[in-house]
């Protein structure tokens, strides 16, 4: 595997007058750039700034503006994917967005349900409220379904029950200390969030990760993807009441977690990512043992997957359920397996020069790509094959401690985009002296929640757990 060559990854910041905000965003879209997040900065007496991120290959353009008062022109009509970003900035930074009406609360939890739900009226329409505590072992979040009979007309999700204020709490900390905030935002995406944070810090510090560091981080990212994809397939099996598939994949996941513990000392790989280096050290014997274990795990995974594929009663429950079509996936800015299942050929691993993916890496898009539960399950199975092959390559040689070396001047902003098991995760770090001025984490789950809510419409209420499991989004790293 020949890793793609590093250059051609720039972060460009462009200051825009508030009056030109929409034109500047429109121009970025017309150049073919992809919106990948927006964030407010500045609190109390500090001047407030509003920035939007646009991805162009491995490069990221940051458009920034300073509102003249408390309000800015909204871009939600140009970029529906900016819906949550604008609502969050309104709740947490008091920014208003002209043209975004109604600007419903997102992070704030007013007690009056009519203030945060879309009114749905008509004969036989009623509401079903679920959560924040669910019947299974699931993270906390609330879903307000508007239904006729068992048919869902519209879903208003209300998350942020787990909002810990991690981004604000990290402000003022040393850059190295900030890693804990990114990692602990989410247990299941701990590596992706940490690597995104470390890469963002390194671009702030003018450091470039050396080959060994890029390899170690890629290894950790793929180990994280491995146990997550196994977990997510188990969850979909549980969602259709297919107990043997659920148990088989849960057992495979347990083996992956034990391998993580053997390699990194932690089942979820916590503490294995650092800013500016890596102390992951695996001897020739350790990597050989891991490769042997992974080969067996790969064979067993393929065998159990075949059983699911050739079980017609399971397949019949997956097809045509929770459809997210190509155009809607693109419009909502969906990322990761959810986008690829809808035929959007996008995987940030293909444009990650700070990591160690082959130059021939391409996004896995299943044939047909119907965007239903079946397709989202199939993407993960396809990606598992790829994960085993990447890990086989990465573990061919012993892993030594890696470093990052000076490569250019320190920068006033660092942005990194990393493909987590759920899709592209974006981390922004703005330093203030040697400390964190602003930390922003926009995870693959955050990007996908609005698309999930959209995909539930016109489905049966009892299918919601299945649709939800097929996206398998995190609440923790959306809520932060």
């Amino acid at each position: 595997m020949i890793p793609s060559t590093p250059p051609d990854q720039s972060i460009e910041r462009v200051d825009v007058a508030a009056s030109d905000w929409r034109d500047a965003c429109q121009a970025a879209l017309e150049r073919g750039e992809r919106f990948c997040g927006a964030f407010a900065a500045g609190w109390g007496s500090a001047p407030r700034r509003w920035s939007a991120l646009f991805a162009d290959g491995a490069s990221t353009r940051v458009l920034s503006t300073v509102p003249t008062g408390d309000e800015l022109p909204s871009i939600v009509d140009l970029v529906p994917a900016a819906n949550w970003d604008e609502r969050e900035a309104h709740d947490l930074y008091g920014l208003g967005f002209d043209g975004h009406a109604p600007l419903l609360p997102l992070v704030s939890h007013p007690s009056d349900a009519s203030s945060w739900t879309v009114p749905v009226e008509g004969e036989g329409v009623f509401e079903v409220a679920v959560g924040p505590i669910h019947a299974g072992v699931i993270e906390s979040g609330h879903f307000r379904f508007h239904v006729v009979g068992e048919r869902i007309l519209h879903l208003d999700p209300r998350l942020f029950y787990k909002h810990r204020g991690l981004e604000r709490a990290a402000e003022g900390r040393q850059l190295a200390e900030g890693l804990a905030y990114a990692q602990r935002a989410c247990g299941a995406c701990a590596v992706a969030n940490s690597v995104a944070y470390a890469l963002a810090c390194e671009s702030v510090l003018g450091l470039a990760p050396a080959r060994e560091l890029r390899r170690a981080r890629t290894l950790l990212l793929e180990l994280e993807r491995l146990y997550n994809h196994l977990n997510d397939i188990a969850a979909v099996c549980a969602g259709v009441g297919f107990a043997s598939g659920n148990m088989a994949f849960a057992a495979l996941k347990e083996r992956a977690l034990r391998l993580n513990r053997d390699l990194s000392g932690h089942r979820f790989l916590f503490g294995s990512v650092e800013v500016g280096g890596s102390c992951l050290d695996l001897s020739a014997q350790a990597v050989d043992r891991a490769r042997g274990e992974l080969r067996e795990l790969g064979q067993d995974t393929a065998r159990v997957w075949r059983e699911i594929q050739f079980s017609p009663s399971v397949q019949a429950r997956l097809e045509g359920v929770g459809v997210l079509g190509h155009d809607d996936a693109a419009r909502f800015g969906a990322v990761g397996p959810a986008a690829r299942a809808a035929g959007v050929s996008m995987d940030t691993r293909a444009v990650s020069p700070g990591l160690w993916y082959g130059s021939s890496f391409t996004a896995a898009v299943p044939p047909g790509a119907r965007g239903d539960v079946a397709a989202r399950l199939e993407v993960r199975a396809l990606e598992l094959v790829e994960v085993f092959s990447i890990l086989e390559e990465l573990l061919r040689d012993p892993v030594r401690a890696g470093t990052a070396s000076p490569d250019g001047a320190p920068a006033p902003i660092g942005v990194a985009r990393v493909e987590s098991p759920r899709g592209e995760t974006v981390c922004v770090v703005e330093p203030e002296m040697s400390r964190i001025g602003r930390l922003h984490l926009r995870t693959g789950s955050y990007a996908n929640w609005p698309a999930l809510a959209f995909a539930t419409a016109d489905n049966l209420l009892p299918d919601f757990p299945l649709i939800n499991k097929s996206f398998e989004l995190c609440y923790a790293c959306s809520d932060r």
Binding site: H109, P132, I133, A135, G136, V137, I138, E139, S140, F160, Y161, K162, H163, R164, G165, L166, R168, A169, A180, Y181, R184, A185, C186, G187, A188, A190, N231, M247, A250, A251, K253, E254, L257, R267, F268, F270, C474, Y475, A476
Partner: protein
């Protein structure tokens, strides 16, 4: 409670690590059901309330409601370091925890996250004390 414990989880602001490990205790490698430990769908059916996370202000009311809904006698378990108030991260204004500040804690299961083996051992010890 004699011979079995019905468990109900409330995620009060975790990173989801404790949830992964609790799910594993009910999975094929650990299979806690064989010892009489089961995860139930409602606090109305539960003997033990397992609570994870830092206890956010937004989860406080739901957590209390779940506790009030339980029949007595009832036990509260702090599952994981966050619920125990160890190395908590977050803004003071957003957190109501640690759990001990909100509910009486009977069982402490440390770890970040505690391994399935550790969760199983802590719960089995409770079971043995009560049989």
């Amino acid at each position: 409670m004699r011979g079995s414990l019905a468990l109900r989880l409330v995620d009060a602001g975790s990173c989801n690590g404790c949830e992964h490990e609790l799910t594993a205790t009910a999975g094929p490698h650990y299979d806690l059901q064989q010892y009489g430990l089961s995860i139930v769908a409602s606090p109305r059916h539960a003997d033990v309330l397992l609570v994870t996370g830092a206890v956010t202000t937004r989860m406080l009311e739901s957590l209390r409601t779940a506790y009030e809904a339980m029949p007595e006698p009832r036990l509260v378990a702090a599952l994981g370091d966050c619920a125990l108030g160890c190395n908590l991260l977050g803004r003071h204004e957003e957190l109501a925890g640690p759990l001990e500040a909100v509910l009486p804690v009977d069982i402490r299961i440390p770890g970040c996250p505690p391994s399935p083996g550790r969760i199983a051992a802590a719960l089995l010890e409770q079971l043995q004390q009560r049989t």
